[in-house]
Subunit: 308 residues, 4 copies
C-alpha cells in the first residue's frame, strides 16, 4: 500500500507548521523537559506493512497508554472477575477526579482513568513483589512489540513517585473502601513504573497490532487474547481512552485510541492497522493536540473509521 | 443472506423464555399499560434484505430513539453551530440528571440525554410554531422510513405532558442560562410529541438504514446526510446512546445504538444493516434487557461488531 | 439608651465613604433599577426604643428576608410536620443550587434557600387560592410590624415572574419528587409575591422584634410564637440565613440574620433588639456588603454577639 | 447554684434507660472496644462551680473535640493568615468527604471536618518535628484544663495510624494542591495523636471554660485568647461542630459544641458555663445520641440557649 506512506507524509507535512501549539504536561517535572517540537507518526498494518514519518523513531514516555497493556495483562490473569473492582463506563470527569469514587464506594468508573488503572496494577501485583509485577508488565509490552530493547525510564518513574500526591490520594481512598489489596506505596510503585515505559512510535504501533488483528500478532502468529477480548478492549479504548475528551475523539477520529500525557496516542483500526502518533503539546483534556489532528486526517483519508 | 433469517429466529427462540424480566417504564402512565410480554426483532440490510421475528410488526412508543432523528434534522438545519449549545461527551449520569447542567452553565453533555434532546427540539423550533416543528420531525421520520403511516400516539404525548415535571425542570433550568430560546412549554410540546412517535421494529429498522449506508437510503437512493455526518451520528450513538449504560452496551454489543424507555433499541452496523429490537422490560439504566441481549447475540453471530 | 443612637450614627458616617461598592442584583430587571447609593440602619429594642440612621425610611424589596416571615407562618399552620418536607441544615451551596435536590430526593436542605422557601410557600398555599395565601403572608408581616401600610410591589412581582426560570426549574424538580403539592405556577405565584414585599428598615426592624423578645411583640404584648419556636427560627437564621456566606456572617457578626438580594438584612440580638440594614451593593454570596459591615460594627460596639 | 446539680442528676436519671442505643464507632478498632453503657455529664461554670453525674470521671478518647484546642493553638501562632488555608463555612457533607476539596482546589470548608483539622495540624507543625508539635498540643490542653495528668492513648493513636486510609487520601489530596506543607505521614502523625487524647468529662468541661469566659480561664485568671477570638471559635463550633448534623444541633440545643466519634461533646454556654457529656452510642451523623439529648434538656432547663 504505497499510498499509506504518502498519506502519512502529507499529514506530517501539513501539520508541521502547527508544531508547538498546546501545552506540554508539567505536573511531572521530568515530562516538562521534553522538547515540544517533536512530531512522529507510525502505522503498522495487519498485512505486515510498516510506515512512518517524522520523529517516529524517538522514544517518549508512554504514560497512560501503558494502561491498555496492563489491562490486557490483568484480564489474562483474572478474567471477568476484574470487573467487580472497576467499571466499564465513561467517567464524565477528568483523569484524576476523586469525586466519582466517593459517590460510588471506591469503585472507579473504568480502567483508563488513573484510579481504575491503579486498581488494575493492584490486581497484577497479587502474589508478587512490586519488582516482579513491574517486570511482568515490561515483559508483556516487549513481547507484543516483539522488541526486547523497550525499557522504563527511571528518572520519570522517580519523578512521578515524588510528586504523585493525587495518585496517593486516589489509592488511599480506594484502600479505605477495601478496593486496594496491597499497601498504597507498593501498588503505586507498580503504577508509576508502568507509566514510565519509554517507547518510539514504531514500537508502539507494533505493540498495538494484536488489537487490530483479532487478538493475534501478525508478526509472530502468537495469540495474545481471544478475538472477543480484543474487541472489548477496543470498545473500552473508544469509550474511555481520552478521559473527558473521549466523546470528541470518537466524533472526530472514529477509532479506538488511548492517549498519554507524554503526548502519545495509540489508535486501532480493527482489521486494518495499529497507529501511534506523538507530539507533546496537549489540549485542555490532556490529549495530544497535533496527534489527534493527525489521526483525524488519517481516518478521513484511509476510510478507517469504525463508523462506516 | 438466508442465514440472517435463521440467526434472528434462533435468537428470538432462545431468548423467549426470559420474556417478562426487567421492569416496564412506569413514570409515564401510558407506557405502564404496555404488555411486557412483547419481543420483536427486525433487520434491514444495505443490500435490500429485510428480516424479522416475533412482534416486529407491532407499533410501540419509540421514546428516546426519536432523538437520533431529531438530531439528524437539527444538524441539517444548523450544522455544526448546534454544538455550541450541546456537547458531545458521555454524561456519566442518568438520563434526566440536572447536576451536570449546574456545573456546566446549562449546556447539556450530549444530544441523547433528556436535556440535550430538549435543546435539539428548541433548535428545530426556530422560526416555527410547535405544531409545524412536530410536523417536520414526523415528516422526516416518515421519509427515512419510506412509510407515511407512521404517527404520533396522542395519549402518550398527553401523558408525558401531564407528568413531565422533571423535563420542565431541565428546560426551565437551561432557559435560565439562556440556552433555550423559546418558552419552555413550546419547546417541551415538541419534545413530548417527538417521544410519542409510534413505530414497529420493521419501520424503525428501515428508518435507520441511511446511517448504516453512509448517509444514503438504499431503498430510494436519496441522500439524507453526508457520509461524514452519518459516521458522526453513529459515534454519538455509541458513546451516549444508552445513558450511563453506554459503556456496557459498547463492551457487550459493539454497535452504535439508541435505546428508548418504551423498550426499543435501534442499532447500526455500518456498511451492513440497521437493526431494531423491542421488548418492554428495562434494566437499571432504562435500556431494554432482552433487546440488549438480542443485539449482543446478533453481533456475535454476524461478526458485525465495529471493533473487529 | 442614648448611646445606641450615637453608635448607629457613627457607623453610618464611617461606612458612608464605602457606598457604591458591591454589585447590585441584576437578575431581576426591577431590582437593577435601584439606586446603589442607599444606606439605612434601624434598631428596635425590646424595651421599646427605636433608632435609625440614613435611608431607614425608604422602602426596598425585602426579597429573601420574607422567608423568615413565611417560615414562621407555615410553622404556625403545620408545626413540626413541615420538617418532613424541608431540612434544617446549611446547604454548602449557593441560594439557587439544584444539585443538592438531586442528591437528596427533592427535599431542600433548609427553608432559607430558594427551593426550601418554595416548599414553605406550597405549605402555606394548602387549602387556599394563591391570592389568599399571598394575602395571608402580607397580613402576617403587617401584624408583626404593626403597620398596615406595608405593600407588595407589583412591578417587582411581575419582573420575578417573567424571569424566574431557575425558580421554575427548582419547583418543577421538587414536583417531580412529589414534594410540591400544587401546580408550579400557583406556588411560585405566592413565592414571587412574597419576595416582592416592600418595607423600610424601620418597618423591618419592628417586624423582627418578636424574635428578639421570646416570641412576643413588646409593642402590643401579642404572642406570635412560643419562646422555643422563636429560638429555633433564630438558630435557622444563624445557620442558613446568608446562603454559602452563613459561616462568615456568624464568624464576623455573631447574630442570627437573614439577607435578601435587594440589599437588606434583618438581624436579631436575642433579648436585646431587632436590627434592619439596607444597602444594595452585594458581595459574592449575594449578601449586602455594607449591611454586613454595619452589623459587624454594631455587634462589636454593643456586645450583642450571641457568642459572649 | 444547687439547682444545677439537681438538673444534671435528673437529666442523667431520665436518659439512663436509653443507654446503649446508637452505634459505637467501629472504624478505628480501638474505639470499638469501648463499653457502650457509659454516660457522663460535667458542668464547669464561669463562677467556679463544678457539677457532674454518671461516668464523668472516666477517661475517653476525645477524638474530634481536640480540633477545638488545635484550632485555638494554630490561631495563636498564625492569626488570621490561617484562613487562607481553610474556610469558615459549614460543609454540607460528611466529616470525611473529599468531594468538596476537588471542587474548591484543596481548601477545606472549615477546621472541624477532617480535612480542615489536618491543615490546622500542618500549620502547628511548621518549624517543628512531629513529636514537638504533638507535645505542644498536649501541653496546651493540659494548661487550659489545668491538669497535667491528661495523656494520649498510644493504642488509639496506633490504631488510627494503621487504618486511617481515608485521612491519608485527604492529606495527599491537599498536598497535591500545595495546601499541605509537610510530608503526609508527618502531618497525619500529629493529627492521629491529637485525636487520641484521653480526657474525662470533668477535665474536658474545665478545658472549655475559657471559651465561655471571654477567653480567660476563671480558675487561674490566665488569658488564653482575646474575647473576640473566643467568640469566633464559638461561632465556628456552632456552625460546623457537628458535621452535617450541625444545623440540627443548633436547632435543638442552641449552644456552640464540638462532638467526637468517641461519643463526647464539648458545649459552651457563653458567659455561663462549659459542659462536657459522653456516651459512646452515635447517631447517623457520628454525634453522641444520648449526649445530644442531655445537652438539649440542659439548655432547656437552664435557659442557656444563645438564641434567647
Amino acid at each position: 500500500m504505497p499510498d499509506l506512506q504518502r498519506i502519512i507524509d502529507n499529514i506530517h507535512a501539513e501539520l508541521l507548521p502547527q508544531l508547538g501549539t498546546g501545552k506540554v504536561a508539567d505536573y511531572i517535572p521530568e515530562l516538562a523537559k521534553v522538547n515540544p517540537h517533536r512530531f512522529g507518526i507510525a502505522v503498522a498494518t495487519v498485512g505486515g506493512g510498516s510506515y512512518f514519518a517524522g520523529d517516529a523513531g524517538e522514544p517518549f514516555s508512554i504514560q497512560s497508554i501503558s494502561k491498555v497493556f496492563s489491562l490486557t495483562l490483568a484480564l489474562g490473569k483474572h478474567g471477568d472477575a476484574l470487573w467487580s473492582r472497576v467499571g466499564r463506563e465513561p467517567s464524565g470527569s477528568s483523569f484524576n477526579s476523586i469525586v466519582q469514587l466517593e459517590h460510588e464506594s471506591g469503585v472507579p468508573r473504568n480502567p483508563f482513568i488513573n484510579a481504575g488503572a491503579i486498581v488494575v496494577c493492584d490486581a497484577i501485583l497479587a502474589g508478587h513483589r512490586p519488582r516482579e509485577a513491574i517486570g511482568e508488565i515490561l515483559r508483556f509490552v516487549r513481547s507484543v512489540a516483539d522488541d526486547d530493547t523497550i525499557a522504563i525510564d527511571p528518572a520519570v518513574a522517580q519523578s512521578e513517585q515524588k510528586t504523585g500526591f493525587r495518585n496517593v490520594a486516589l489509592a488511599s481512598y480506594m484502600r479505605s473502601f477495601g478496593n486496594l489489596l496491597h499497601p498504597v506505596e507498593l501498588t503505586l510503585g507498580v503504577y508509576f513504573h508502568q507509566c514510565a515505559i519509554s517507547m518510539t512510535c514504531r514500537q508502539l504501533a507494533r505493540a498495538g497490532l494484536f488489537l487490530a488483528n483479532g487478538g493475534h500478532m501478525p508478526q509472530t502468529g502468537l495469540t495474545v487474547v481471544s478475538r472477543d477480548r480484543a474487541r472489548r478492549i477496543c470498545a473500552l479504548m473508544l469509550m474511555c481512552g481520552h478521559y473527558d475528551g473521549s466523546g470528541d475523539f470518537a466524533f472526530r477520529v472514529g477509532l479506538p485510541g488511548k492517549s498519554g500525557v507524554g503526548g502519545g496516542i495509540l489508535a486501532v483500526a480493527p482489521g486494518q492497522a495499529s497507529v501511534a502518533v506523538w507530539s507533546p503539546g496537549l489540549d485542555e483534556h490532556g490529549n495530544s493536540q497535533l496527534g489527534t489532528r493527525a489521526l483525524q486526517l488519517l481516518a478521513e483519508r484511509t476510510g478507517w473509521s469504525i463508523f462506516g
